[in-house]
């Protein structure tokens, strides 16, 4: 081995960023004025030619994107704190709602961006932090959405009517039997679990545990059925769904349901390795969609559920009215504020988790499962927590999504949605919170504004066939994003520092013996021991290349 010259590891010095307070404020003012002007129709009429340019769909999409870039710059640039706060709070709480007053679709767009940002943050925990590729993530979104939709819409009274008409012999007796069965089965499960702590499990005790689990399931089904039958008398009263005041309760419920489904889906499949896990989660996502399509009684099948109620908050409505909003905008504005609060909470949870023991454990199993297990990280538990956390974010956002759309059908939750969220995470940078939010904003803007804008622009061009206009090219674009990012910049647009070091391991490593090189394990195949054959062809044993 000839060593041409001692390779110095490139030391990444933190650059001294120039202070850009003035630029930030200036940019904020300019883009805000642009945004507000371009959505005031009567002002636009007086502008003549400039107004026509601003009304163009593509330009409008660009203006919105530029305005949203404010928040990004406030995060990235070095500036005085007052300016950052002014830009962040000013743009999200004042300018956007004000522009939304003139053009409701802006509010809709912002809510959509934040919903997807939350989804991307959730998937980021599963993929970016814990390293489990989940391609069926949209299933949890669907679970949250359907949880609220079934109850917050006329669907629920249909279900009650059906059970009232087909009560069979179900009655209060069934409720008692169901409750007893549930209690007995749960008790036996706990007892067997406790016994397993003392003595080794035998085949018989395992079978008993399964049987008790089956009993628990039957008990719960009996209880549910009898409650539905007993409540079927009030079907008429619930013709428009349950009282919207329950929205808040269901906000908590949707989190729990999604997390529960996450655990249930996770339990059988989390033993598997990366790519098997990907396929199987993809399959389970499809299973949930097919179920939603076929359980016509509960989900109205492929016609979808509509209308879905949103929370009714009288004091908020009167406040919005005082600010000059029109009544039909109240619910969107309310959801906008709600979604802001929820995403703030989710971001806080993310950051706190990342620095917690659980976050460390996730990163440990992502980097090297076997070593993490040897160091005492409980694999199954850690993975399940990752799945459940990611799922719960999706669940709560699914519910808000259902309330915003007032209509959901199984087609809203197809595989392409999962891939879309994945491409957000990959584009922004796996494991980086600011990155995935940026990714979500970029991809959603592409999807909802830029592509349709280009589509409309090219609709009038004679030589472009209608069928191939850019509006239908989402798949191509997401595919290109995924491939280009993986080949050129696998760490994403706003990378997480640790992740970057890991992915550019070879470029700035002089000697790998200092830090255990586990990359060989991930490349597949066997690593016997240090010093014997390493897995990559261009790896030589020893230090320098």
């Amino acid at each position: 081995m000839t060593v041409a010259s001692p390779v110095k590891p490139a030391v990444r010095r933190p650059l001294v960023k120039p202070d850009r307070t003035v630029w930030l404020v200036l940019f904020f003012v300019v883009t805000s004025i642009l945004l507000l002007v371009s959505h005031e129709t009567d002002v636009m009429k007086n502008l003549g030619a400039l107004g026509d340019v601003l009304r163009n769909k593509v330009v409008e999409a660009l203006v919105v994107s530029l305005f949203l870039a404010n928040v990004l710059f406030a995060y990235l640039w070095k500036a005085a704190n007052w300016a950052k706060l002014l830009v962040g709070i000013g743009s999200l709480l004042f300018v956007l709602p004000l522009a939304g007053q003139a053009d409701t679709s802006l509010l809709d767009l912002s809510i959509q961006i934040m919903i997807f940002a939350a989804l991307a943050l959730g998937l980021n925990i599963v993929v970016g932090l814990a390293g489990l590729l989940d391609l069926g993530y949209v299933a949890f979104f669907a679970v949250g959405a359907y949880t609220w939709s079934i109850f917050g819409s006329p669907r629920f009274s249909e279900v009650l009517k059906y059970y009232g008409a087909n009560a069979g012999s179900t009655g209060s007796g069934t409720l008692v039997i169901g409750l007893v069965l549930t209690a007995v089965a749960a008790g036996s499960m706990l007892y067997i679990r406790g016994m397993h702590g003392r003595v080794a499990p035998t085949t018989l005790s395992n079978l008993s545990f399964l049987l008790a689990g089956f009993g628990l399931l039957s008990g719960i089904i009996l209880v549910g059925r009898s409650i539905l039958v007993l409540a079927s008398g009030s079907a008429e009263a619930l013709a428009n769904g349950i009282n919207p005041g329950f929205f808040w309760l269901f906000l908590a419920l949707s989190v729990m349901t999604a997390a529960l489904v996450g655990v249930l889906i996770g339990l059988p499949v989390l033993k598997l390795k990366g790519d098997y896990l990907a396929i199987i989660t993809l399959g389970l996502g499809e299973v949930i969609r097919v179920l939603a399509n076929n359980l016509g009684l509960y989900t109205a099948g492929s016609q979808g559920i509509t209308p879905i109620a949103s929370a009714s908050v009288p004091w908020f409505n009167s406040l919005a009215g005082a600010l000059g909003f029109r009544p039909e905008q109240y619910y969107l504005l309310f959801l906008y504020v709600l979604v802001l609060i929820v995403i703030a909470v989710i971001l806080l949870v993310n950051v706190r988790l990342d620095n917690s023991r659980i976050g460390r454990a996730w990163i440990a199993i992502r980097d090297d499962e076997i070593a993490a297990q040897a160091m005492g990280v409980p694999l199954m538990q850690t993975k399940l927590i990752a799945f459940a956390t990611g799922a719960s974010f999706a669940g709560v956002m699914g519910m808000i999504f259902a309330a915003k759309q007032t209509f959901i059908s199984p087609e809203s939750f197809n595989l392409l949605q999962s891939i879309t969220v994945l491409s957000m995470v990959v584009l922004g940078g796996m494991g980086s919170f600011s990155g995935v939010i940026l990714g979500a904003a970029v991809v959603t803007l592409l999807n909802l504004r830029i592509l349709p804008g280009l589509g409309e622009a090219s609709a009038n061009v004679s030589w472009i066939p209608q069928e191939v206009n850019p509006a239908n090219f989402n798949r191509f674009i997401f595919g290109s994003i995924l491939v280009a990012m993986m080949l050129l910049r696998p760490e994403g647009l706003l990378p997480n520092a640790r992740r970057t070091r890991e992915l550019h391991h070879e470029d700035d490593q002089e000697d790998e013996s200092a830090d255990g090189n586990a990359s060989g394990l991930k490349a597949g195949g066997d690593v016997y021991s240090a010093g014997l054959a390493t897995i990559k062809e261009d790896d030589k044993t020893g230090g320098s290349r």
Partner: protein, 337 residues
């Protein structure tokens, strides 16, 4: 339902399942070979396969009015599809997977998903330029006939099938024959030639194979070429069987074929065939479960119909991976530290 009606019905379903299974088996071979050498699920294989189907469609369309023999048309379609799909697969490997050797496992997988999406839209774009989206196969005359139209020209097998009330179409017979020939050729190449030996060596241990003088990059390309060619064959067969395809219809059979590969044991060629046949039958049986729906008391689950047959393979996949992750014919490999 009486037994005299039910029996031929079940036999029909099983025979249909086996025919479908042969298509899945050949797609599954493409997955399993690539997984064998790279330990990568080639998500783009479903698009490589549907490319073959599109090429077959184009050949049949161009030759529609020529007086050529139908079997010759089929042969041309098969060869063209093999060449295009094989080269496409090699190209994908060169451009997208080769730069990522040695990257963390998730990176090539995500790339593969991306390539799959790109190819879907590219195909749609290319066909859309001519205003064609749903491509309907027009087979050469005589292909869609009953296997046994008149008693006089019946083969003994056809006679037997007719007596028990099973009707097989000629295209199904052709499909099975083509599939068996492809399997035979593949088996010969992998087990009896120098190239096959080299591929097997690379899939066992790439580094050591390189030390023994095998150009592992070339062998990986060869594997992708063979897998892609098989994908092309299966694409044409799939198009013949189902009649209508579009750029997105590769996804479902792709997933099912991957499941078949896992079921048989990924990396094992006979396993892929076995898994494909099993899944074809399972899927067809689920598709007719509405007959047994009342038996199972599933009336509350809405109508059980063909849409449920989509999730059958996934249920099988989950069960297989939980109880026997190595598959039916797979070898277990323990990860050493």
């Amino acid at each position: 339902m009486e037994l005299s009606v039910l029996l031929p019905f079940i036999v029909n379903v099983i025979i249909g399942g086996l025919v479908l299974g042969f298509v899945y088996a050949i797609i599954a071979l493409g997955y399993t070979m690539v997984y064998g050498v790279l330990q990568l699920i080639n998500f783009a294989h479903s698009e490589v396969f549907i490319t073959g189907a599109v090429v077959g469609f184009e050949v049949f369309r161009i030759l529609q009015n020529s007086a050529m023999n139908g079997y010759l048309k089929l042969l041309i379609a098969l060869v063209a599809a093999m060449i295009v799909s094989g080269l496409l697969n090699v190209l994908i490997e060169r451009l997208a997977y080769r730069p990522l050797r040695g990257a963390p496992r998730l990176v090539p997988l995500i790339t593969a998903i991306g390539v799959s999406l790109i190819l879907q839209d590219t195909l749609r774009f290319l066909e859309g330029l001519q205003g064609r989206f749903d491509l309907t196969y027009t087979l050469p005359t005589g292909f869609a006939d009953k296997f046994c139209s008149t008693t006089s020209s019946c083969a003994p097998l056809g006679n037997f099938l007719r007596t028990i009330g099973v009707d097989v179409q000629l295209k199904d017979v052709i499909l099975v024959i083509v599939a068996l020939v492809s399997l035979g050729v593949l088996n010969y190449v992998v087990n009896r030639t120098r190239l096959g030996k080299a591929i097997r060596a690379v899939s066992q241990d790439r580094v050591t194979a390189g030390l023994m003088g095998i150009d592992s990059n070339l062998m990986i390309s060869a594997t992708f070429l063979i897998g892609g060619a098989l994908g092309g064959v299966s694409g044409v067969l799939f198009g013949m069987k189902f009649g209508t395809i579009n750029a997105y219809s590769g996804f479902d059979p792709g997933i099912i074929a991957f499941t078949a590969a896992v079921l048989g044991g990924i990396g094992s060629i006979p396993g892929a065939v076995l898994g494909g046949l099993l899944l074809g039958v399972i899927q067809n049986l689920i598709g007719v479960t509405n007959i047994f729906g009342n038996l199972l008391g599933l009336a509350n689950l809405g109508t059980i119909d063909a849409s449920y047959s989509k999730i059958g393979p996934f249920i099988v996949l989950v069960l297989i991976l939980i109880f026997k992750p190595t598959g039916l014919l797979g070898k277990s490999n323990v990860e050493k530290v």
